[in-house]
Amino acid sequence: MGSLRKMSFDAVIVGGGGSGMRAALQLAQSGYKTAVITKVFPTRSHTVSAQGGITCAIASDDPNDKWEWHMYDTIKGSDYIGDQEAIEYMCQTGPEAIFELEHMGLPFSRTEEGRIYQRPFGGQSKDFGAGGQAARTCAAADRTGHALLHTLYQGNLKNKTVFLNEWFAVDIVKNADGAVVGVVAIDIESGETVFVESKATVFATGGAGRIYASTTNAHICTGDGVGMALRAGFPVQDIEMWQFHPTGIHGAGTLVTEGCRGEGGYLINKDGERFMERYAPNAKDLAGRDVVARSMVLEILEGRGCGPDGDHVYLKLDHLGEEMLNAKLPGILELSRTFAHADPVKEPIPVVPTCHYMMGGIPTNVDGQALTIDREGKDTVIEGFYACGEAACVSVHGANRLGGNSLLDLVVFGRASGIFIEKQLSAGITLKEATEEDIQRAMVGLNKINQSSGGENAAVLRAELQTIMQNYFGVFRRGDYMKTGIEKLDKLRLRVENVYLDDKSNAFNTARLEALELQNLFETAYATAISAEGRTESRGAHAREDFQERDDENWLCHSVYFPESKKIGKRPVNFTLKTREPFEPQIRTY
């Protein structure tokens, strides 16, 4: 193997979605040589699909709104394993980050006063839960993710960020000290493999919803960052925590925003009953997503589902009127007509809980520095390595993310990572240079695929993986089922490692990428399975039939999955707030 061409940067961001472009913007603005490696042109990233909005206490809808109330909601929503320090930082810094986006040109919808329009979303309250429903989600119609992603791309163009568009990061390069010094990446168009060296490597690689058969996530959400981190020997945190969004379109999986319920829509069963009134008498359809998703599944299991197979429920919007739907939810009208063949102006949308968001990920501190745990159980910073957005677990979502908090997370922590790296770079970063051997270690997986002479097709193995995850690690989980699932995954592992690449050509070879993505999906799925089986309680999105109660005595903590031992450990949740006494765990009702 000859040596690879090398490119060097002050900072390299892997991922061109919201968090990656926010981090890149920060660094490019301060003049550091910054590159974004992105496997799709940036505006094709999955952030583009976010619909309903970005939750933040900017006090537009309610001039007396307080970020502390948003903090309370987020901690409660997380079922108390969100890190309070990180949640405090996000909710307090949020308004500044939102106003920056607006100044950059984000076309938010507006109120009569000319301020940013905010709509109600699930799990939102005033006065620490005592003041009723809040309307805190800042929206650009129902295309907020699109508006945000394009605005960030535009900001980066203005600041001359270097984009390595349609480049695919293969694996992490570690130096002799175990620090991260860059990645090996493929220029997809030419097929050339390059060592991209950097003083700071930021993983903003997004989620991995494609580990499930039914997901709202784009085809590209394959857990590349999590896969690379695990192969480099780094742990992931709370990876058993997967959010199933209540309203994915039945059959297609495409998302229908929670904003529909925020604007007054509601769910009905086959009898036309607004069933959420039974499960969450106060918040009803705007309870936490985990609560609503479980209630829907129970309705279906108890025979009150809709359609010929009784396998979904309906989201009713027609009572809101055509004019309002056109103004507030135009994208939903399009999606429903296209994918459900239902016109929401006249008839309800068939919906079902669908895999939507990875609450877990690469553990980081508030500055985006990736962490591992040493032998004494202490947090240790991984030199040179950072993560933000869905790929990271900072952790602001804990066991259940509130709607509208993912966009806030990616803006606030993309920005925070950028600010911290700026400081580090100006203070001077010296990392040992990677040796040829270090670089070749990151080429092992790719070389194996390139030299494969037999084995199975990536698409077939991927479908098998997705079916296992869907069947054994879904909305409701049970120990014996999960053990069966893990056995199946154990058998699948070798077949995935020996995936066959028939087409060895260089130019825009997407079969090669799919083989690499499959391995990332598998690592993410396996970590999910082990962590889910290991957490013997029910909390947030993790609902076990065999352990139905939340167990604060044993599990008021993060799970941490270690790839080498394939076992999980525990890490304490942060309960320190700078501005007030911490929020103690309460029984979570809506």
């Binding site: 042109f41 106003f99 085809h219 296209t338 087409d503 825009f508």
Partner: protein
């Protein structure tokens, strides 16, 4: 059985592009064109196309479907199959990298030329810049562009002058910033467009309007820019 004819070209293997026919069993379902491509890729992993969101918002999978540009993910077979035949080609007018994947550099270069970002050098307020709902409404039909290039690659003027004519997509975005009450660079933006090619090569053919998968109207936006330029010159 559906006959699917797909444009194939792998620069490392093929001396020239060719059309390859596949037989495809839809099992009576009205699938999206992207579903068909995904299933054919399982049969033949060397088939190459771009895709991401599969719901019409990311703009990756613009292709020419039975003669008309559109997004594969939101084009149902019932809209594009004629007599059991479906023909899929890359978007026309730009270089092909491989199969259905085109080199979009010229398209993106035209987008970058119009300074696609907010310009307002006055110090920002502590909160957002205020904008009335009426002012904001002017951006509807403009900001939703997904940069899929269906319009520009359907435009004969863009085919002729891809390096000089901004094209419908870029001009739609140019107007998106001209129309924004928060942007203060109107004069600079208009000066930047004031030459015989950037805007005035639009001959109102309106292919762009016909193919836009988001139902946007670049021709109308171009009309507004023309009026602004003419008013400015008077």
């Amino acid at each position: 059985m559906l006959n699917v004819s797909i444009y194939r070209y792998n620069p490392e293997v093929d001396a020239e592009p060719f059309m390859q026919d596949f037989e495809f069993d839809t099992q009576g379902k009205d699938l999206m064109v992207l579903d068909v491509l995904e299933k054919l890729k399982i049969q033949d992993p060397s088939l190459v196309f771009r895709r991401s969101c599969r719901e019409g918002v990311c703009g990756s999978d613009g292709v020419n479907i039975s003669g008309k540009n559109g997004l594969a993910c939101i084009t149902p077979l019932s809209e594009c199959v004629r007599g059991d035949k479906l023909v899929i080609r890359p978007l026309p007018g730009l270089p092909v990298i491989r199969d259905l994947v085109i080199d979009m550099s010229q398209f993106y270069a035209q987008y970058e030329k119009i300074q696609p970002y907010m310009i307002n050098n006055s110090p920002p307020p502590a909160i957002e810049r205020l904008q009335s709902p009426e002012e904001r409404k002017k951006l509807d039909g403009l900001y939703e562009c997904i940069l899929c290039a269906c319009c520009s690659t359907a435009c004969p003027s863009f085919w002729w002058n891809p390096e000089k004519f901004i094209g419908p997509s870029g001009l739609l975005q140019a107007y998106r910033f001209l129309a924004d009450s928060r942007d203060t660079a109107t004069e600079e933006r208009l000066a930047n467009l004031d030459d015989p090619f950037s805007v005035f090569r639009c001959h109102g053919i309106m292919n762009c309007v016909q193919v836009c998968p988001k139902g946007l109207n670049p021709t109308k936006a171009i009309g507004h820019i023309r009026n602004m330029l003419i008013r400015n010159a008077a």
